[in-house]
């Protein structure tokens, strides 16, 4: 099979809301099966939009996204929903259903998409929660969880149906260093245990470079660099250097575009 190596293939992808301000331009990307691939870039570089395009929530203006050999935007509603059952997504702040308990959140997809008996659902939910270390918290409500715990529950929910593709939208945003390490570790471990493929959209360089296999660096809708984590750390590309080492000024300026400072302070009168 021609598609056996790459689970996700993106070619010539362009996306814009307003044609004069493209969000993604000419993206070509291949995500190999079984790997953890990170898409990095500063806020507003089009990373989340890319995830939405892969998940079929948006349609590309030009080009295409193929997942498991199928062009996503050509699928009808049923086809897309069948595809989504094999995808898991972790949203930025978890997006847990606030009116359901931790247990019911993880059981949600099993109950919606399968006819499994309740006893089996119970076992599966507890296994998923055990794998993220929160089996003991299954009775709690999302409002009773800390940010890190909520993220882990959302992770358990994302892998509820053993997806082939797991997408993470900023999984590290707003977490303390311990939770950060836990989530980073889980992303790697779950990917390998489930034989899945993962896409991690993030701007947390240090944490993600530790555990990913490959990195795409996005800036203003373009892929400006790609490579293994080691290559990124050694990259001479100024944009990548500024990003990886967190330098405050560089190709991405500290100042938002503005008029002359002296003019603004009326010193040139």
């Amino acid at each position: 099979m021609a598609h056996s190596d790459n689970l996700v293939e993106i070619s010539g992808l362009n996306f814009w809301y307003d044609k004069s301000r493209p969000i993604l331009s000419g993206i070509d990307m291949a995500i190999p099966r079984g790997k953890v691939v990170s898409i990095m870039g500063i806020s507003g570089s089009g990373k989340t939009t890319l995830l939405r395009l892969i998940g079929g929530a948006l349609k590309p203006r030009q080009g295409q996204v193929k997942v498991a050999g199928k062009v996503i935007h050509e699928l009808d509603r049923d086809g897309l929903y069948r595809m989504r059952r094999r995808m898991g997504m972790l949203f930025q702040f978890g997006a847990l259903f606030t009116d359901l308990s931790v247990f019911d959140n993880v059981a949600f997809q099993m109950r919606e998409h399968t006819d499994l008996p309740e006893a089996m659902i119970r076992d599966m939910v507890l296994m998923k929660l055990h794998s993220v270390g929160l089996r003991g918290a299954h009775r709690l409500l999302p409002s009773e969880l800390s940010g890190g715990m909520a993220r882990r529950v959302a992770l358990a929910r994302a892998i509820a149906l053993d997806p082939m593709l797991i997408m993470y939208d900023e999984p590290f945003a707003g977490l303390d260093p311990i939770s950060l390490g836990v989530i980073g570790n889980l992303i790697r471990r779950l990917n390998d245990a489930l034989g899945a493929t993962s896409i991690v959209v993030t701007h947390d360089v240090q944490e993600s470079l530790k555990m990913v296999d490959y990195v795409y660096y996005l800036s203003e809708g373009l892929i400006v660099a790609k490579g293994a984590p080691k290559e990124m750390q050694a990259s001479a590309e100024p944009l990548v250097r500024q990003f990886v080492y967190g330098e405050p000024d560089g190709p991405v300026p500290f100042q938002y575009p503005s008029a002359d400072y002296r003019d603004d302070l009326m010193l040139n009168r």
Binding site: R84, R85, A95
Partner: protein, 265 residues
């Protein structure tokens, strides 16, 4: 100068009209989608029953208490007026007809809009703002089928029941004031009421009214929530719009329905 002013004004009017029409079209499409996606709700009645508790059962207290007070006021005011013509024995008829035909459906719908409608809008708006609806969509579950449709049917089912309880409570309030407090003859209070209130003309029409109000209020509430901008101001604005728009819709529809139902009666 005047010309430019006029052009700007015309443009604003045009903009608002187009915008309003667009929203109406979007809301109608949303309504059609709710009806199309209602299958799941009826296959899994548990979903509707859960929402019936939140929209119907939790609105009971405000509906019953208001019904009692409205009925008591009707008893007082009605007695004052009827006494002038020496026909205070017709108090039961006055109380019952006003409640069953008008006040029951209308006041309970207004209360329902501000109690349950605003809660629905806020809940769905917040679910959208916290990406819960997107998450559901990504899990291949249609939020309209799973979240919106059960709430819609719960609203439509509970509205006529709440209106009926409001009217019953109101009649009891009128009885308390008229018969127990003021001393109108109990026999004529009930028997005249029984004679004058017609099942088809009065009660069925009242139920139809409250059914229509139920559809309007829940539709508006759900649409506003689903369409709310995903921010704090967005959700609060949508909640306000739900109460304002559905109150106006109730009163407007009430006039239209009354005009059709009670011609020449």
């Amino acid at each position: 100068m005047f010309n430019r002013f006029a052009i700007v004004n015309v443009r604003t009017i045009g903009h608002h009209t187009v915008n309003g029409l667009w929203r109406l079209g979007y809301a109608s499409r949303f309504f059609a989608l709710i009806l199309l996606q209602s299958g799941t709700s009826f296959r899994r009645l548990r979903l509707i029953i859960r929402e019936l508790y939140f929209t119907g059962v939790l609105s009971l207290i405000i509906i019953l208490v208001s019904g009692l007070f409205v009925g008591m006021v009707l008893g007082l005011q009605g007695y004052q007026t009827l006494q002038t013509y020496g026909s205070e024995s017709a108090l039961g008829v006055l109380v019952a007809l006003s409640l069953v035909r008008e006040l029951g459906p209308v006041v309970s719908a207004l209360l329902f809009a501000s109690r349950a409608g605003s809660a629905m809008t806020a809940e769905i708006g917040l679910m959208k703002a916290t990406e819960q609806l997107s998450a559901m969509e990504m899990m291949a579950v249609d939020p309209i089928a799973r979240v919106v449709a059960p709430r819609f049917w719960a609203g439509v089912i509970s509205m006529p029941l709440l209106a009926a309880m409001f009217s019953a409570m109101g009649v009891f309030g009128g009885y308390l004031v008229g018969v127990v407090l003021i001393g109108v003859d109990e026999g004529s209070f009930w028997s005249q009421m029984q004679n004058a209130v017609d099942f088809r003309e009065d009660i069925v029409n009242g139920v139809i009214k409250s059914f229509v109000f139920g559809v309007a209020v829940t539709w508006i509430a759900l649409f506003e929530g689903y369409d709310a901008p995903p921010t704090a101001e967005g959700v609060s604005g949508a909640t306000t719009r739900t109460v304002v728009t559905s109150s106006l819709a109730i009163l407007g529809l009430d006039f239209v329905l009354t005009a059709f139902m009670f011609r020449g009666v």
